[in-house]
């Protein structure tokens, strides 16, 4: 074969080797196969970003990655032994309830957002988040196996399955996860990550403010950090989707969000009242739920609903959540003469010229 013939051969074969622009445009991502099974499939390309937020969120998720094995939960055994039977039983039930929500989020809540993702990177992000939700669900089991007997663990799961309020909470979000409107799924998903878990998170934060179960609380703080991004991201994509809807749809979805919040809020109140009956902090849990309901709404782009006096969470819980949230940075109210000039965390000086 002469050189000329060989060149012609390769040009000829290249014609069918590369998709032209039109073929690329018509290609789909794998989840769309359900709708157009005949279309060509396109692999995810992280070098062709259409929404910078996707890359930012992926990077945040990856840099926050952790596993429960890294938390020395067994150091909590002496502390666990100081708890009363009632405190222990409540802890186990609270964690079974949290496991229920994280299982739901890992196995369906994130996955149902893949089908209608706006970008191919967004699809990948839900798989990342879903895995992390499974890590969270798994981490409560680590607490159980470290601190509890097999019998206690078994009873916790039986309690979770038998408890009507817990069941209604999870059924309420599942109902939206199988609904037709992808934006309703996002609202429900944001509510789960930003509102529903917090009644449960309250107890380990409370214990930690009393110097109990400190390692378990450290693990919960890692979960909280992840949840902030999960709720933020679903809420962000909800808002991008909402912008493209008609005004009538936007009004319908705002009403839907408010109605779902009302329903979940009522359930959170009943659940918290029931599970924490006999504890001195029930009112504070209610405030904590309202405080997080506001954040769920804000993640979805809606104004906060509850006023400051309704979300006045005790300072010990805020401090357990975030040590610096308790410092005085309200210079404006005149009480801030003792404002803090900053912690001593090091920054990357390479990025700063001064």
């Amino acid at each position: 074969m002469s050189q000329q013939e060989s060149t012609q051969e390769s040009t000829k074969s290249e014609a069918g080797v590369y998709a032209d622009d039109e073929m690329m445009r018509q290609s789909i991502t794998p989840p769309q196969y359900r709708v157009t099974p005949e279309a060509r499939i396109r692999p995810v390309n992280w070098n062709k970003i259409t929404d910078e937020k996707d890359l930012e969120v992926w990077n945040r998720l990856v840099s926050n990655f952790w596993l429960p094995e890294k938390v020395p939960l067994s150091n909590d055994i002496p502390s666990w032994n100081t708890l009363t039977d009632h405190e222990r039983q409540t802890t186990v039930r609270v964690f079974a309830g949290l496991t229920m929500l994280d299982t739901t989020q890992a196995t369906i809540g994130e996955l149902v957002q893949i089908d209608h993702a706006r970008t191919e990177q967004e699809q990948a992000i839900y798989t990342n988040i879903a895995f992390m939700q499974s890590v969270h669900a798994r981490s409560y089991s680590s607490v159980f196996s470290t601190l509890c007997s097999s019998e206690e663990i078994d009873k916790a799961y039986r309690w979770a399955v038998a408890n009507d309020v817990l069941q209604e909470r999870v059924h309420t979000v599942l109902h939206e996860y199988v609904s037709e409107d992808p934006l309703k799924r996002k609202v429900a998903s944001t509510m789960l990550s930003s509102l529903m878990l917090y009644a449960g998170f309250y107890l380990p934060l409370y214990f930690s403010s009393h110097a109990k179960l400190m390692n378990t609380a450290d693990m919960i703080r890692l979960i909280l950090r992840d949840k902030a991004i999960h709720g933020y991201y679903s809420g962000y994509k909800y808002q991008r989707g909402l912008e493209e809807r008609t005004q009538a749809d936007q009004a319908m979805l705002e009403k839907f969000t408010n109605d779902l919040l009302d329903k979940l809020y009522d359930l959170e109140m009943v659940y918290s009242g029931q599970i924490y009956e006999g504890f001195p902090f029930v009112e504070d849990v209610f405030a904590f739920v309202r405080y997080n309901a506001n954040k769920a709404l804000m993640n979805l782009g809606y104004p906060a609903r509850f006023a400051a006096d309704q979300t006045d969470v005790s300072s010990e819980i805020l401090a357990a959540l975030s040590p610096s949230a308790n410092e005085n940075h309200d210079f404006f109210s005149g009480s801030g003469s003792s404002y803090v000039m900053g912690h001593s965390e090091s920054t990357d000086d390479d990025d700063w010229d001064f």
Partner: protein, 165 residues
Amino acid sequence: MEQQQTAGTDSELSAPEFAAQGQRLGAVVYFSSASRNTARFIANCHLDDEGIDVFRIPLRPKDPPLNIRQPYILMVPTYGGGSAKKAVMPQIKRFLNDPANRAGIRGVIASGNTNFGEAFCMAGDIISRKCNVPFLYYFELMGTKEDQEKVRRGVVDFFRNHPES
């Protein structure tokens, strides 16, 4: 009064996104990511009605840089959850790395999310320390009505109590 908007006086200076109405008291410079939480908070504060010029640090590297030569309060979100060195977003660092811009900073307001624990509103801590200015106020996400009122009143009082010209 609104010299910075007059073409030719100093072409380098940026125009405010929201120009002060009436007598100009001071300025706020803010940054908001694509989620627009801080932008919404700023819009809800209506600072321009109170005589405050509001400038926005550009989101994209291609956008012309913000140049400001008057005293201002900086309002920024915290990039939460990662390491401390990432808490201040690169666009904000780029803005502050210009000594002429940095000369005007008088205080910082930061937003964040308490879920991020120790990193909550850390951008405010870092900028406060780096620029040696007070960390004036913090709020979460897009802020509540109470936050809006406090910042609206607080920014005005701050400039009234610290006149520079």
